[in-house]
Amino acid sequence: MSSRNSILDSLRQNVPPLAPLPAPINGINGIRYADPIKQFEETLTVAGGTLVRATAPQDLASALANIEVYASAAKVASLVPGIPSRNVDLSAIEDPHDLEGIDVAIIPGKFGVAENAAVWIPGETLTPHRAIFVITQHLILVVPASEIVDNLHQAYERIHWSPNSFGIFISGPSKTADIEQSLVIGAHGARSCTVILL
């Protein structure tokens, strides 16, 4: 017998009585905030990130210019329409290893979650190289201010799953506390994470 069938047989022999499947988020009244953006900002700060509030899309360029890592970056890869890349031609990169050396990546986020400062990035946003968000030295996420939900239950209601896809929640920069529980920002991925709300 194949291992597959032997495992499934063993599971069926040992199966407990059927227990009902609760309805999703059954009985859970997910937390709501009086000011979700304020909550998002506070949580992001604790997670090591920074929030920038730009009032309108046309303010994006000036908001970016005020971000030190962007202003001083030699190589900028932008996936946000209207914001140009700098010294990087993403369409010319075949092998994701060639993304190494990018200083700043600017990536649009679909929505943010106030309770945990997570920003949802669907995989198709990252085309053609999904590694861009983690290999870059610094990360700037651009999220519509109208798209901040309170909690993760609302967040998952919004996600559409297509076959063979990728998607990620990013909450702040890369970090570790593996040495004596002291928090260090910039483990493998981005050394900083700035979220710009439009």
Partner: protein, 454 residues
């Protein structure tokens, strides 16, 4: 067989260090409490998580089949392994088929359980653990001492010395920021040179045929997105039915484990990277047998957050290595003897049964009840030392005969205070190794009560 008490002796002997370890973990436990109390619906979340896991386990074979079907439709190649040996052989076969000589791994307790690293290394493949804590213990040729914080037992000076020897950092440097930066550079070169990445799995979703991996460092994403080959290894119990169920578990996982509202990166892999391959290896390795045991099956609901370790007074004061198993602490003390009751017979006794583990468990596993129940199993199996079994039998007899209990108590009160210390605290009294008997009262509680005016 060397048990938990013997293994923890050296750890306990260094009082300062044991205290430091205790405080480090209590700090994490306190962070968890702050997070949990900030969520008014916390208990409803735990209820929901428990119910979803109980349901999934009652239909696990069906959900695994659904997961496999959807995963294949996503372009993922699915493999099944009955045990650790088969798991290791499958992973090696995939790597060998692609001519992989350098593999980067993110955290996977399953591959620790299967001892994958030494197996691959014996076949000439260089394996690099990329989680910082895991890399530290890998360089020290040690296993992780905690499932979420693998190097929690080490001080910064020890890591500084290790990095000085292995990575060429400055002698005597122990600043965590400096050491982390050195590891970042070292591991980035490993990421750039690896032909394959292996990750664990936090959750596998039957509905989407994809897997979810949570890290703070981003190492799983480096490993799964740079090389063209991604292998994800999962135990059969990682499955949940629907993508929306993730909201329940992700709200609980990091809050319970490290006291964060969510991990930095929560990646949903529903297919291979562009132009690459993704494989999922589904492993049983004794889990289906646990499913058949009514008393212990709820232990399969564990999401490996580590909260029960952080809160356990025994784990905090004895360290992860005292358990001698991949997963230490309360949950490990239930999982390990399932695998080998003789070898791990002491673990269910490495608990005060205070119930703190059960209180913090995000999926409401009745941990301390299971620890107690396992003691009975072990006594029935005669896996417990004769001395313990005999004293239990004597106590059982005395406690079920009230007159004998009264006479025995009276004799003890009369005789014990007159005995020389060497006789009371001899090697036949392991209870007294680090404890003192209270002073013997003149009268029993019963005597006192009878004197009270009614």
């Amino acid at each position: 067989m060397i048990g938990h008490a013997e293994k923890s002796a050296a750890f306990v002997a260094n009082e300062d260090r044991a205290h430091w370890h205790d405080q480090s973990l209590w700090f994490v436990r306190a962070k968890r409490d702050r997070q949990a109390s900030a969520i008014p619906e916390w208990e409803a979340l735990r209820e929901a998580a428990s119910a979803i896991k109980t349901h999934t386990l009652s239909r696990l074979a069906d959900y695994l089949e659904e997961f496999e079907r959807k995963a294949i439709a996503n372009g993922i190649q699915v493999h099944w392994a009955r045990d650790a040996a088969e798991h290791n052989a499958i992973v090696h076969q995939i790597l060998a088929g692609h001519g992989v000589t350098h593999l980067v791994k993110s955290k996977s307790m399953l591959t620790e359980e299967c001892h994958l690293n030494p197996y691959l290394e014996s076949h000439g493949i260089e394996v690099t653990d990329t989680d910082l804590g895991e890399r530290i213990v890998q360089l020290r040729k040690e296993p992780p001492s905690h499932i979420v914080m693998p190097a929690i037992h080490l001080k910064r000076e020890e890591i500084g010395e290790l990095f000085h020897i292995e990575l060429g950092t400055e002698k005597g440097a122990s600043d965590p920021k400096y050491l982390t930066e050195a590891a970042r550079g070292h591991l980035r070169s490993k990421f750039m040179g690896a032909q394959a990445g292996l990750t664990g799995v936090n959750f596998a979703v039957a509905e989407t045929g994809g897997v979810v991996v949570c890290t703070n460092e981003g190492n799983a994403d480096m490993g799964a997105s740079l090389p063209r080959l991604h292998i994800a290894c999962m135990g059969i119990e990682k499955l949940i039915p629907r993508a929306r169920d993730l909201s329940v578990f992700l709200r609980l996982l990091a809050r319970s484990g490290t006291g964060q509202p969510i991990t930095g990166y929560t990646s949903h892999f529903n297919g291979p990277v562009r132009g690459g391959e993704m494989h999922v290896v589904i492993v049983d390795n004794g889990r289906s047998r646990i499913l058949g045991q009514e008393t212990f099956r709820r232990s399969l609901g564990c999401i490996r957050c580590g909260a029960c370790m952080n809160t356990c007074p025994v784990y905090r004061r004895s360290g992860g290595y005292s358990y001698g198993y991949t997963v230490p602490g309360p949950i490990g003390s239930i999982l390990a003897p399932q695998r080998d009751p003789e070898k791990y017979a002491s673990l269910p006794f490495a608990s005060s049964l205070c119930g703190s583990c059960t209180d913090v468990c995000p999926v409401k596993i009745d941990l301390h009840h299971q620890l107690l129940a396992f003691r009975k199993v072990l006594v029935d199996l005669k896996a417990v030392p004769l001395q313990k079994r005999l004293s239990m039998a004597v106590m059982g007899f005395v406690l079920s005969h009230p007159s004998l209990y009264r006479i025995g108590g009276g004799l003890m009160r009369a005789i014990v205070p007159r005995l020389p210390r060497s006789l009371v605290y001899g090697p036949w009294n392991p209870w007294g190794i680090q404890r003192e008997l209270p002073p013997m009262p003149q009268e029993s509680f019963r005597d006192l009560i009878q004197k009270e005016p009614s």
